[in-house]
Symmetry: C2
Subunit: 191 residues, 2 copies
């Protein structure tokens, strides 16, 4: 789908693989087929102007954020996922406030969807599916002044801590447009 | 599977449905088919002695806890779930410390497993499944002195904020026994 090698050349990544060491992404950072709940199969070109809409850094501490909901994508994605939110996003969800305020960040974590033989033994039935190895992490960052071209949201995706850049810069946003009435967010809060 | 009416008579529930108002459960509190990742189909009797091993209160603030992992149970359960941990549990998971220290609490939230027509439209494929209405919440509370008969863990389950009591009191524990090497916890931490 994309050339990791070319990507690395485009990106300025310092030091080791640590998330904190990825300090700056110069051109087109991390936005691929990176829809919050979606990762459609797209191809396209790099639009430098629009790509500046996207962040290249993983938001600090996202793995500690509170849960919004969970989902399973079958088909080619074949993953199981959790959607987390920072405090600003969670507060907006719980208070049902739309649009989301600036500062809200929503994270979509995904892992391979794998059967659990251990669990199935206990259940006595082939019914249990769990999270395997991580696939990628996607973010939507709300900044209504910065991301004017994409509904006020910046989109990014990371695999193994590295930003992933692919396809048309507004691809993420276009797929989110059907959820315009909910500020372009598909995921509902799971009580 | 159980008589909600009989259960309510056994339980002392004050006031409204609010979680905080459920203050005390006298005899057999909340432990049903309430395995952390499991809810097998059991039948049995109430064992008063063993049932005292179980808590009847929902741990405060559990919906804000950090994510351990996610799972899908097909079959009769047909749910999608998230496993959360309080800070003690999360710390033990991340440091890979076993057994879990006293004070660790693990929560298993589950929701109906429902297809998302909205998501499928965007994907152009019948592939998306999300969390529907909540089914129940289960807890494992580590207290090695209190829950000596069940591996140091107390088990409980709540539906609509009310404790659910069913079947043999050690049912939960027996199903968790195959995971003895991991302190009776099946769920692995999802990075």
């Amino acid at each position: 789908m994309f050339s990791a090698k070319a990507l690395r050349m485009m990106l300025k990544i310092e030091g080791d693989n640590s998330v904190n060491r990825i300090t700056f992404v110069s051109v087109a950072a991390a936005f691929l087929a990176s829809l919050l709940t979606f990762a459609p199969y797209v191809s396209g070109h790099t639009d430098e102007k629009a790509s500046q809409n996207y962040e290249g850094k993983i938001p600090a501490g996202y793995r500690d954020w509170k849960l919004i909901s969970v989902a399973h994508e079958a088909g080619n994605l074949n993953d199981i996922r959790a959607i987390l939110g920072n405090d600003v996003a969670i507060k907006a969800y719980r208070e049902e406030k739309l649009p989301f305020p600036d500062g809200a960040i929503i994270a979509r974590l995904a892992w391979k969807y794998v059967p659990s033989e251990e669990n199935n033994k206990v259940f006595g039935s082939e019914q249990s599916f769990v999270a395997g190895s991580p696939t990628n992490v996607q973010f939507m960052v709300k900044d209504s002044k910065r991301y004017t071209a994409t509904g006020g949201w910046g989109f990014s995706q990371f695999t193994n801590g590295k930003p992933v850049n692919e396809a048309e810069p507004e691809t993420c946003f276009r797929c989110h447009e059907p959820a315009k009435a909910r500020d372009f967010i598909f995921t509902h809060y799971a009580p």
